[in-house]
Structures are given as structure tokens and as C-alpha cells.
């Protein structure tokens, strides 16, 4: 497995997969292409699932073979933003709950974290099981 480790490149060519990778090392263009492929993959992969969501939010009747909605309408958005839909009230509720949860979590978690992080006492391992998760 480690036969190629420590060999100075060029003196003793490693075989098989390692050789391919050794060649990759001598190919900065390949490395650059690979890097741009990864970066492009990140951008595309993250954004792609939002594309149909956004398109659908502006469409009404958009059946299978059509790649794009045949007609666009802001009807759905008007409904969401109008007071009748209740979306704005729900949004307010969500924000309020998220804020309360955050405050309560910090209030409960920070003292416990201080106790677990700064003071030694018996039974600590039992309480702070994350410590045991470290590998």
C-alpha cells in the first residue's frame, strides 16, 4: 500500500492508480479543470432545486413537456402577500417563536456549557456525552 511513499518522483514510477495520480500531479491544467468543475458543481447543485420553485411560483397551468411556463402571473405572490392568506401573520409567529427559542436556549445552554467546560466534577462525562463522541 505504502510502497510509493517517500519515493522521489521520476526515479521509480509507481504502478496502477497511483501512477495515474502521479501524472495528474504533473498536469496543472487538469487540476485547474477539476477545481473549476467542483466550484461549478457547488453553484449549480445549490441553485438548481430553487429554479422550479421560483418558476412555479409565477406560473398557473404548466403541463409536462413545456420547459418554461407558457404564461407568467403574479397571482400566487399577490395572494401570499395579501392579508387574507394569513401568511404574514404566520411569518410573524415563526419569527417570534424562533426568537424565544434562541433566547431560552442561550439562557439554558451557556451556564451549562460554562459548568461543563470550566469546572471538574464527578459524573461530568455522563452529562456531557459529546465528549465521548470524539474519536
Amino acid at each position: 500500500m505504502n510502497t510509493a511513499r517517500g519515493q522521489v518522483s521520476g526515479t521509480n514510477k509507481p504502478r496502477g492508480r497511483l501512477r495515474d495520480l502521479e501524472e495528474l500531479r504533473g498536469c496543472p491544467a487538469c487540476v485547474r479543470v477539476l477545481r473549476w468543475a467542483v466550484l461549478g458543481g457547488i453553484l449549480l447543485g445549490v441553485v438548481l432545486p430553487f429554479v422550479p420553485l421560483i418558476l412555479w411560483s409565477f406560473s398557473q397551468k404548466w403541463f409536462f413537456p413545456a420547459l418554461l411556463p407558457p404564461e407568467t402571473t403574479a397571482r400566487a405572490w399577490r395572494y401570499v402577500l395579501s392579508p387574507d392568506s394569513g401568511v404574514l401573520t404566520a411569518l410573524g409567529n415563526s419569527v417570534a417563536i424562533a426568537l424565544i427559542v434562541t433566547v431560552v436556549n442561550v439562557a439554558l445552554g451557556v451556564p451549562a456549557g460554562r459548568a461543563l467546560g470550566t469546572v471538574r466534577f464527578g459524573g461530568k462525562g455522563l452529562i456531557s456525552s459529546y465528549r465521548d463522541w470524539r474519536c
Binding site: 522521489v8 495520480l21 420547459l67
Partner: protein
């Protein structure tokens, strides 16, 4: 003495919440799973619900599916996270933008992205329409089944999408704290790119990302909303099975639902213990 009191005081609020909500719920669930349900006049304790559950025809298939989805999603997320972190740590033009987009999935609710993927990869989704437009398929049924499928592919995809930045940010933090010294040293000694990664970087990153991967695994194993939205009705993942039993109009199915939940908790506990052993061995042997 006062120090002990101080520690107890600092820990008490968190422990009370964990004790009442978590342990309390667990005890209630356990007693209901054993058939103790005063509300319908059942006071006995027994393992009947577990026996019924394990002998259900779909149970083993649900378990296998759940294992497959959670293991595959975890492995893919870790692999992609390491690959992307290795790329993102370098300097390049547009790094700020890419880093921002990279972390974006962390803020998106599972529900939203599950619907997004549904509209993207279903047989009448955007990708199927694109395949039709370029002539790859002639009708929607020719597009591969990626949601409501036998292997939970859509579910896996959503979790990978969501969890890659979670692991990736941990890996990035580790890589940045390491600097480039180890790598340069290895390269100076004649190691290739792959060798440097495999024998130097990977063993240094692994201890940092393995706990994160355990969290993902345990989470996906018990998660509900994505399998509920994108999963087939039979076999379904264990959490969906549990929910169906729970909302059954027949209250007598409740013990089975609770037994299911207790079993999920036990499975996760057991698998996490096994996983930790494996991970430790992996780390000791140098990746």
C-alpha cells in the same frame, strides 16, 4: 461546598428541561409501547406490541430502507464535503460568492428543499422537461423514477444537499487551522497529491468530521418530513411507519407506534456505538 452548589445551579436549568421533556417523553413512550394506556382502559404491561410490530410484513423492508438511506446519505455527504472543502480552502477569484452559496443550504428548511427537489427530479419535473426538450425522452414515464422510488433516492439527495455544508464547514475549519505546512512537508518528501491527501490530510481531518457524520446519520435515521414527502408509501422509512401507526383511528395501534419509536431510538443508540468503535479504529490506523 459553595462551588458544588454553583455548578449544580448552572447545570440545573438545562438538566431539568432535558429530564422533563426528553426523559419524560421517553418514559411515557416506553410505558405506552408496553401496553399501559389508561385512556382506553389498558393497564397491563407486556411485549405484545413489539411482537406484532416485528412480525408485520413490511417492517424488515422499512428497516433495510432506513439503513440504506441514512448510510448512503451520510457517506455521500462526507465525501462531497471533504472534496469541496479541499477546493474551497484555496484562494481563487469569486471565493466569497462560492463560499456564500456553499453555506446557503444550512439556512433552508428541509420541507422547502424537499418540494424543490420534487419539482426538479420527478417524472414531470424540470429535468424531465429538459430531457424531453433535447430529445432524450419522448414521454414523462421514460424519465428515471427518482422520487417515490424503491431506494429513497430523492430522500438521499435532499439530505446530501442539506448536510454537505454542515460537514464541509467543519472540514474547512480543520484545514485552515492546519495551514499548509504538513502538506508542503509531504510534497517535499515526494508524496503525490493523492498520497498527501490520503496519508496526511485525511487522517488529520477525520477526527474532526466523524462526530458530525454521526449526528447526520442519527438525524437521517429518525427524520420524518423528507421521507414523508418524497418516499414511497410501501416500503416507507421507519419514522413514517411510526407516524402512520400513531395517527391510526384505532387507538389500539398506539402501542405499536410507541414500540416503533422506542425501537428507532434503540437502533440509533446501537448504531452510534458501533459507528464510534469503527471510527476510532479508522482514526488510529491513520485514516
Amino acid at each position: 461546598m459553595s462551588r458544588v452548589f454553583g455548578v449544580a445551579l448552572m447545570l440545573a436549568p438545562a438538566l431539568v428541561v432535558i429530564g422533563v421533556i426528553f426523559a419524560g417523553g421517553l418514559v411515557l413512550g416506553l410505558s405506552q409501547s408496553l401496553g399501559y394506556m389508561p385512556i382506553i382502559g389498558q393497564y397491563g404491561f407486556g411485549l405484545q406490541a413489539y411482537v406484532e410490530l416485528l412480525s408485520r410484513p413490511g417492517f424488515v423492508r422499512s428497516l433495510v430502507l432506513t439503513l440504506f438511506v441514512s448510510i448512503t446519505a451520510t457517506v455521500l455527504a462526507v465525501a462531497l464535503a471533504v472534496a469541496t472543502a479541499l477546493t474551497l480552502r484555496k484562494r481563487f477569484r469569486g471565493k466569497k460568492l462560492v463560499s456564500f452559496v456553499y453555506q446557503f443550504p444550512l439556512t433552508i428548511p428541509h420541507l422547502v428543499i424537499a418540494v424543490g427537489f420534487l419539482l426538479l427530479i420527478s417524472q414531470s419535473g424540470l429535468l424531465a422537461r429538459a430531457a424531453y426538450a433535447v430529445g432524450l425522452i419522448r414521454e414523462s414515464s421514460q424519465f428515471p423514477i427518482l422520487v417515490f422510488d424503491d431506494f429513497g433516492l430523492g430522500i438521499i439527495l435532499v439530505y446530501v444537499w442539506k448536510e454537505v455544508p454542515f460537514i464541509g464547514l467543519i472540514a474547512l475549519a480543520v484545514l485552515q487551522s492546519l495551514g499548509e505546512d504538513y502538506e508542503e512537508q509531504a510534497r517535499t518528501l515526494g508524496a503525490g497529491r493523492w498520497q498527501t491527501f490520503r496519508h496526511v490530510l485525511l487522517p488529520l481531518i477525520l477526527p474532526g468530521i466523524l462526530p458530525g457524520s454521526i449526528i447526520i446519520f442519527a438525524y437521517v435515521f429518525g427524520a420524518f418530513e423528507v421521507p414523508y414527502l418524497l418516499g414511497k408509501s410501501f416500503p416507507s422509512m421507519l419514522s413514517v411507519l411510526s407516524y402512520r401507526l400513531y395517527i391510526d383511528v384505532d387507538l389500539a395501534a398506539r402501542p405499536q407506534a410507541m414500540a416503533m419509536s422506542i425501537l428507532i431510538a434503540l437502533f440509533v443508540l446501537l448504531l452510534v456505538v458501533l459507528y464510534r468503535r469503527l471510527a476510532r479504529r479508522l482514526v488510529r490506523s491513520g485514516g
